[in-house]
Symmetry: C2
């Protein structure tokens, strides 16, 4: 079964307080985005990579690849005005047979174990979603103030959200609502059950300077 990785990196880095979009900032001396692609390639070097970037960033990325002698083959895909449209653009280039890992470009700390769990579950059940437990008390905000809820019933969702390509393409191409920020929610419009697998707690999404400091400390995640 062919495997595809759709690496989504459409962000503009505004929360980083940096001129450079966050996916291009360095971790352990190389752009975050390269570290992310390297991790998947380390997991399975036969994966076909599709990298979604704002088209205005293609040149910057190509120059970075030259500078860092980055040689993992990948195809560039033009980002859309929302995450939904960016993923849709990427999926339109991926065949109908196989599985696809849809992954945030700014999550270089995904573990090999998480990738393996996602792949196995998606192969057997059609989809997989890596999640972790909530470690803090949780409250819900309503019209009459906030109330404690039992965190044991909640999970935090990571990526790669992993799917049989035919199914996730059917979901994405049968709706037009581009407010979705999460592939599993799009997939659920097919009325199918989502299968949860255990993620790894280090697999944080790097969105602010504190995250970058943390990621630099944790990199690389073993196993």
């Amino acid at each position: 079964m062919e495997k595809f990785a759709l690496i989504v990196a459409g962000g503009n880095g505004s929360r980083m307080g940096s001129e450079i979009p966050k996916q291009f900032l360095n971790i352990a001396g190389k752009p975050i985005l390269m570290r992310t692609i390297e991790k998947f390639s380390q997991y399975d070097s036969s994966i076909h990579f599709f990298l979604v970037l704002p088209s205005g960033e293609f040149d910057r990325w190509k120059n970075l690849c030259k500078k860092h002698h980055f040689e993992i083959q990948h195809k560039l895909v033009k980002g859309g005005n929302s995450r939904f449209l960016s993923v849709k653009n990427g999926l339109s280039q991926i065949p109908n047979t196989g599985i696809v890992f849809i992954h945030d470009g700014v999550r270089p700390l995904v573990s090999l174990k998480t990738l393996s769990l996602c792949e196995e579950m998606a192969k057997t059940k059609g989809n997989a979603l890596p999640v972790i437990q909530v470690n803090e008390s949780l409250r819900i905000i309503g019209k009459d103030g906030s109330h404690a809820v039992d965190r044991a019933f909640y999970r935090l969702v990571q990526t790669p959200q992993t799917f049989r390509t035919d199914l996730i393409k059917r979901a994405y191409f049968s709706i037009d609502d581009n407010e979705f920020t999460d592939d599993a929610s799009v997939f659920e419009t097919l009325d199918k059950t989502i299968n949860l697998v255990k993620g790894n707690s280090e697999n944080i999404k790097i969105t602010c300077p504190v995250d970058l400091k943390i990621a630099e400390t944790l990199y690389p995640v073993q196993g």
Copy 2:
């Protein structure tokens, strides 16, 4: 108005994979628990400290205080078999007038700003709870599988949970259920509204080796 800090450190460190309870492990060269108390003392040196420890750990703590020349005055309180009972033991020693910060001993990264917001809100409204937004997609687990929920309506709860001492004592001493793991939930049994204030994202609870690495990187939090 007198101020009290009830620092709760009853844990046994089993998740740390360490023989030494987590609150005694070092951050920047000193036990986590000292760093936590130092932060509060830096915020306001007139705070009266009550430190809840398992009684079997009193000697270890006293020796550490000698070794590190730790001179911030504090009273030791014997922990109970649950967090609820530990806090109750601590509250029984605190007068009825004033405000009390109830804080996890393993959160040394609370900011001065968070402490200030908690104090101001508790003084004017009787209680304050520091919370942060949920940065990941969130799912709820039910009998028929899991479903996406809108993370915008949820908040993650930190400490110090801060209260007028008379109110929180009334709440703790009017119930016997020791399953509560969160002071705000105990307080809510009084049918009072909980007031949320903005916490600081660095204020993590150190419960596993990854947390300790992260905390070491972030320490000290400024402001």
